[in-house]
Structures are given as C-alpha cells and as structure tokens.
Amino acid sequence: MGQNVLEINDLSVKYKVYEGVLDVIPDLSLYVQEGERVGLVGETGSGKTTVLKASAAILGNTPAIVNKKELKVCGLSIDGIRGKKNVRKNVSMIFQDPSTSLNPTLKIQTQMLDILKSQFPKKSKGFYHEMMMRALKSVSMPAPERVLDSYPIQLSGGMRQRVCISMALMKNTKIIIADEPTTALDVTIEEQILELIDDLVKKEKKSLILVSHALGTVRKITDRLYVMYAGQIVESGLTKDIFDNPHHPYTIGLIDATPKLTGNGIADGIAGDIPSYLNPPKGCRFAPRCPRATQICREQAPVLEKMEGSVDRFVSCHNLEVSEKPVVSSLT
Amino acid sequence: MLAAYLQKLDSDKTNKNSRIEQFKRNWYKFSRNPMNIIGLIIVAVVIFVTIFAKTLAPHPEDAGLHVDIMNAFSKPTLKNWAGTDEYGRDLFSRIIIGLRPSMGIAIMVLAISVTIGVLLGLVAGYYKGTLIDLLISRITELFMSIPPLILAMVVCTMFSNNYFFAAIGIAVAWWPWYTRITYNLVTSLSNELFIVYTELAGVKMMKIIIREMLPNITSSILTKMTLDTGSIILVASSMSYVGLGVQPPTPSLGSMVSEGIAYLPEFWWLTVMPALAVVVIVMGFNLLGDGLTDVLSVEDK
C-alpha cells in the first residue's frame, strides 16, 4: 500500500429543502489507499450515499450545496469540469438497486457500447463486441450473447447487478465505489455478488469502497472501516480491530444490532432515531441516544482523535475511558 | 405491525390538533410561492365578482339590450375601463356580468361530472377485475374517443341550445376523466400496505372504500377540480364563441370575442378585453391548482 487514491478533506454537504437547510455532512475526511478495501457503515440516513456521490462528482443533479476544501482522486482535484474528467477516468461506481441503475429503454448492448465508445473511441465493431463479451464473462454471466441483446427487464435482479458490475469494470479505473450493492437482491444471490466483487477487486488490484449495513459482509471483505453516524465519522480503524474491540458506543450498538443465529431476529439495537439534520444536536450528534452521555456530550461536540498506541484507530467520543470495559458483548 | 397501524389510526382521529398543525404546515408551504397567492387572490376576486356582479357592475343595464349610440365605440377611458361596444354598452360591466354564466356552467359541469365520475370510478375499483369493471372501463373509453368539444356541441344542439344544456353537454364529455382518475387512485391505493392491512383485519371492502379511500383521494380530486374550472371556462367560451350556450343579449365572454372580430383592428378592445378576462381567470385557477398540487404532493413524500 502507499499512495492515497481517494482523499477527502473537510467535506461539507448541505441540502436545501423547503423547511430550511439540512446540515447533512458538517465536516468529513477520509482516505483510501491503493489496493485497499475500505468499508463505510452506519444506519440508513447516516449520509453514506451522499459521501459516495460527492466522491463520484454526481451530487450536481441533486439540490445539494457541496463545500469541499479538498477532494482528490489519485492526487488530482475533482473541482470543475476538468475535475469531473479526472473522476470519470478514475472512479467506477456500482449502485444500490440494479433495477433502477440501468436505462429501461435501451438494450444492454447499447448501454455498454456507449461506455466503451467514450473509453476507446473509433474502434472496430468486432473490437467492441469482444470487449463486451469479455466484460460479461468476467462476471461469470451465463449466455452473454443473449444478455447483450436483452432489455434490463428481461433479466433477473442478480443478472442486472452482474451487468452493472461488468459495466463498472469495463472502465479501467483504480477505484470502485459500491453503494450497498446487494441490499436490493435476494439473500441467496447476495453472497455470490459479494464474492464476485471481492474476487475482481483482488485480481485487478483495485481499491474498493464498500457501503453496507450488513456488517457480516463488511467484516469479510474490507481491510479498514469507517463508522458513520448522522453525517460524521465516529470511529475508524482496521476492520478486525473494530470488530474485536469497538470503542464508540454507537459502534458497539451497531455490532450488537446485527442479527445473530441465536436469539430473536433483530437484536436489541439502539433505541431512537437519527437526529433531524435540520436542527442537529449542539454537542455530540449521538448524545440523545447514547447510554453513556454526560453533560459535556450535550454541550460540546467531540473531535475524531487518534487513539494512543493504535494502528490508524480514530474515535470521536468524550467518554472513552468507560469503554475500556465493554458495555455489551460483541458478536457471539 | 397491524396493531401499531390501528393504534396510529386511532391517534390520528382523536388528535384534532395535528389536523390544525397539518393545515398550518400546508398553508406555510403554499404561501411561500407568491404565484400561489396570486392564483388564490384571482380566484377569490372572481368568485366575489360572480356573486355580486349586478351590484359591482358600473352599468348593470348594459347587460341587456341597452343602446346608447352617442357613446358607441369609445376607447378604454376612466369612465369606461374597457371601452364600449357598437351599441355604446360598457364592456367592463358586460365582462363582469358575463362571468356569471361562465362560472355557473363550470360549477354545474363539475357537480355532475364529479358525482358520476367518482361514483363510477369507485364502483369499477371496488369490482376490479369483474364484468362491471370491464363495462365501466369500456364506456369511459368510448366517451373519451370523441373530441370533447364536438361531443358537448352535439349534446347541446340535440336537446336545446341554452345555458343549461351547454353545461350538460360539457359534463357528458367531462365525467370520464374523473372516472379514470378515481379508478387509478383506488387501484393504486388498494396495493398500499395500510389498505391491505385493514382488509386483512376483516374490515368490509365497502367500508374501506368509504372510510379509507375516499378521504385519501379527495385531495387529488379537489386539485383536479380547481385546474378543470379553468379548462371548463375555456371550453364554454369556445362554445359561446360559435353561439352555443348563453343566448344574446346576455353577455358571455366567448361570444363577446367573436362579435368583436368583425371590428378588428380599429376597435381592438372589443376582442382584446374579454379575451384578456378569460386569460386572467383561467390563469388564476391554474395557478391555484398548481399550488395545491405542489403542497399535496410534497406532503405525500
């Protein structure tokens, strides 16, 4: 590992809605190194997708106010039209729902061809066909010829996601962003798709950002982990370290909330909801739901600080001392 | 989950304050766009003027066969705001009084077509998939396959060419749209979870339609009614342009335009003023309708 292929410093995103301004991401920094597989976890509405969309420079389509001090892809800025070009050259993205991420009115062939033509302009028909077949075969797609000639609705959800992955991989980029690539799929197919992504990323030595709320998945695939809550990173570090010994009360709760084979379905979880972005808590954003919250949590926002004697471990909490003795046990 | 849902239903009913709160929220949303307010004001003024037309008109006698030849073809002045016509009648008064039949037709058409349309739509939705549904759908389609203006004119001339049958004629062409919108709303609602739950809980379908669905579709129907008021006024004015509906000497906006055409271009106000009145009125109803659509669709999200 070494060079940072993606670097976000002090990203802030606000959405303008009729009630006022939603302060979704106040101040966020993260990085991804070459060949690294990074996970981003947090419950629904914690701003994960917004971070990804900012990285892929497609927030422009939404009513978002993006204020980024520094957002670099492969060491290049992503600002302006030139920046967008940099992003297009270096970032591929796989979306959450394969049924909405393919154009319903165009054949798979046409959609793939348009991507190829912009990547490799003015090549022969045979060349493009060869490329498309190779891409589909690389995601172990059965009957690729037939798939090319199909419209998205003629394919199953799993097949569509395979098509999306093959399209994302056709561009030879260093970074792949996967936004909950399996949530919209059957559980039986979930495993296959994740293995596929894992394989391809390993084989081609790409960097991966995987967003998911399936913690089991994240634990298996990623090297390093960011835990997000209400638009902020509350804990980060090596995946193994975090799962073995979570520090932030939110991380503890999140790990505790994963379904276990024993027990009744969704376990205890964390009481309450994500605070309103319209008027977020003054102090720590997690304080209203935190079992350990004290006066200082409600008044002063904690800072993400490196833990002493750790490898890349950051936590943002006022009451870390208490956490030395775990409140709840981790995965059983 | 069902229990939670039923509980929520109860709390919704008992909590009158939340209704008021909801109304305040919607009003706030609505009032943020000045266009909505303009629409509301125009509609309010139109309704007010319609009701008090006879008192508000500076020259109410000009609605009939009043002749003041000395004053004919006067340009818009301070005395005659919209000028006068070939008999010296005050155009402004005639426009104000001409509003009445237009609004009357709109109200009658809406009353008839909403009653029939919504009823048939509910019945078809209730008997979805049966012969009754098929029959109603086909009849609706049949009525939609003739241009509405032609259908209205055929009906109006067949019976009697007057103001009442003009409204009946337009209503005959208009109701299918309400059947269709109601039917679509009912079928899409019946897939919603809260209806499915209520159905599973053993509540009779008829009761579901009346108690659950009807309140849910009223906002859409009301919005459509607001928008349609403008369209009906347009259609009625097109009909009166060719002499169908209100009979002279009673003024109506469409016939005023058509009579004025003969005097173009010197006496332009004879056509421009009533046409302008139609534009402003229709725009008012459209602005209001669009505002309502915005507020109600945001609420859905």
Binding site: K53, A56, I58, N61, T62, R88, V91, S92, M93, F95, Q96, D97, T100, S101, L102, N103, P104, T105, L106, Q111, D114, I115, S118, Q119, Y151, I153, M167, A168, K171 | R138, L142, S145, I146, P147, P148, L149, I150, M153, V154, T157, M158, G230, S237, S238, Y241, V242, G243, L244, V257, S258, I261, L264, P265, T271, V272, A275, V278, V279, V282, N286
Partner: protein, 340 residues
C-alpha cells in the same frame, strides 16, 4: 419485434371494436332527432307513396340493427355515408371536399407541437432553474391558459394588420383541374409551382400557430418535467459515472425514456386538434372539415352528424394507434408485457 407486432395488432382490434360501438350508439342516438328525414328531404308536397318508397329504400322501416348494418355496409364498401340534409348532396362528397384541408392544417400544427414542444421542453430541462428555464416556463404558462381564439386575434392584429407579414385569412384558390389530393401544399408541389407552395405555407402559418400554440406550451411543460424527473434517476447517474459522453447522455439516455410520457400526451393533443379547429377555421376563413362539422351539428343534419362523429372516431383511433406504435417502439416494458 414480434412482441411489438402482437401488441399493436391487439390494440388495433380493440380500437376497431370501440369504433363500431361508437358509430352504433351515435346512429341510434340520431333517431331521437325530431322530424322525419325522408319527409324533410322530399319536401311537404311529396306523395305518401314516394315517401313510403324512399323510407323503404333507406331501410328506415327496418329494425335499428338492420338499418345500422345497411349503413355500415355502404360505408365500408362504397364509402357512402348517406345524404346530407344541409348541403343536399352525399356526405362523402362534402367530406372529400373539406377534410383534406383540415387534415393539412392539423398535420402542420401537429408538426409544430412536436418540434417546438420538445425543443422548448428540452432547453428548459437542460438549463433548469436558470433564467432561460424561468422565461420558458412563464411563457408556456401563458400559452396553456390562453384560449386559441385569443391567440388567433392577437396574431391577426400583430402579424397581418400591423406588420402585414401574413395574409389576413383565406387560402390561395386552385382551379379544379389542379386539385388532386385536396391538400393545397401537396397539390402545389404536384403542379411543380414552388412559389405557390410557399404561398400556401404562408397562409397556413398563422392558423396553424394559433391552433398549436396552446399544445406547444403544454407539451413543453410535460417534456420538461419528464426530463427533469429522469435527470435524478439512478440510471443517468450510473451512465454518467460509467463514462457515457455528455451529449449521448442527454440526447439518448435521457431523451429516450423522457419521450414516453411526452408521446402519450402528444397523442391526446393531436387527436383533439381537429375538434378544436372550427374557431380558427372560421377566423382565418379556411373552409374546412371542423367548420363543416359544426354546421352539420348546429343544423341537426342526421347523416352528417353520424358521418362526422365517425370520422372523428377514426381519426382519434388512427392517431392513438400511431402513438401506441411509437410508445411500443420506445418502451420495451410495454412491448414485452403487452404481448403476453
């Protein structure tokens, strides 16, 4: 493509049935008109014998269904719609005289609606929330709420009376031997007279624009909202990140799905053009079918009314079938589902 053909064929049969039922209803409805058509044709002095003979010849003494069958047979086999009481000649002759002109008017208007509606809608969507978008949205709003006759008056005043760019009304006259299709622009081209062709288009311009402008405005609004809705769709974001070029993204990936709602609304607009044209026809002194229908209706001419409603039904059906074919070509979802 096979699924598409099956779907279109199904729609065709469906429309045919609607048309038959429609004409039957109008046909029986017409009997409600007071007065005996035979007596009013032959005049008050006709003998009872000749009245009876004609009643028999016209199938009027047979049951309604037989009468209708006879009428339908004549329509299908000979294009004979019966005799008009208003013009006292076969309705089919009247239709042949008036319909081509109106079709020409509506066709040109339909062309304007498609071209300008989509153009302004696209510009508005691409530059959404800028001043260009706001100006277009304001103008289209005005267009939707203004009655077509008001536009007619306005255009006549400005372009014909004030600026004198266009004729005040009426169409160029053709000598009978030069009338081949009845559509003036085509006839002019068939004559090889290009300056006459230009003159025809010039005479058609204002009436077409007055007839079309409300629909253009409405179409632009529909197209804008369809495009804006799709701009936020995942598949556009996905295609953008995957590297599809900007122009392809807008004119192919965004335009194609946006055309589906646009086309459906376009069908409704075009189908109602002919029915709304009578005011414009009379204002611009175009002796067309719409105005003829109005006269027939106002004079309660029974065979005339049946014929014109039938023609309106046919036009509605044809336009709808074309739109169906268009939607099927655009949307594989309908094509694949509809063939089941």
């Amino acid at each position: 493509m096979k699924e598409g053909l099956i779907y279109v064929f199904k729609r065709f049969i469906h429309i045919l049935i609607i048309l038959l039922v429609l004409s039957f209803i109008v046909f029986s409805f017409i009997r409600l008109i007071p007065g005996d058509p035979v007596k009013s044709t032959l005049g008050p002095l006709a003998s009872e014998e000749s009245v009876n003979r004609m009643t028999h010849e016209l199938y009027l003494d047979r049951p309604l269904v037989v009468q209708y069958g006879h009428w339908l047979k004549n329509v299908v086999t000979q294009g004979d719609f019966g005799k008009s009481l208003l013009t006292s000649r076969p309705v089919s002759l009247d239709i042949k005289e008036y319909l081509p002109r109106s079709l020409e008017l509506c066709f040109l208007s339909a062309l304007m609606i498609l071209v300008f509606g989509v153009l302004f809608g696209t510009i508005s969507a691409v530059f959404r929330n800028t001043w260009i978008d706001n100006v277009i949205r304001f103008l289209t709003y005005l267009g939707v709420v203004t009655p077509p006759y008001a536009f007619g008056v306005l255009f006549l005043l400005i372009f014909s009376y004030l600026l004198k760019w266009f004729p005040i009304g009426g169409l160029p006259r053709f000598s009978p031997e030069n009338v081949r299709t009845g559509m003036l622009s085509i006839d002019a081209l068939l004559m090889g007279n290009f300056s006459l062709f230009i003159k025809v288009l010039q005479s058609y311009f204002l009436p077409c624009l007055s007839l079309a402008i409300g629909s253009i405005a409405y179409q632009a609004r529909i197209h804008r909202s369809a495009m804006v809705e799709n701009v936020n769709a995942d598949f556009i974001a996905f295609a953008e990140v995957a590297g599809v070029s900007k122009s392809k993204l807008i004119f192919k990936h965004l335009m194609k799905p946006s055309f589906i709602p646009t086309l459906t609304v376009y069908g409704l607009q075009v189908a109602s053009l002919l029915g709304n044209a009578f005011i414009i026809e009379s204002m611009f002194r175009i002796n067309g079918f719409s105005q003829y229908s109005l006269n027939v209706i106002l004079n309660k001419d029974p065979y005339g009314i049946v014929a014109v409603t039938f023609i309106f039904g046919v036009i509605f059906a044809v336009v709808n079938l074309c739109i169906d074919i268009g939607v099927v070509a655009l949307d594989p979802r309908i094509r694949l589902k509809g063939a089941e």
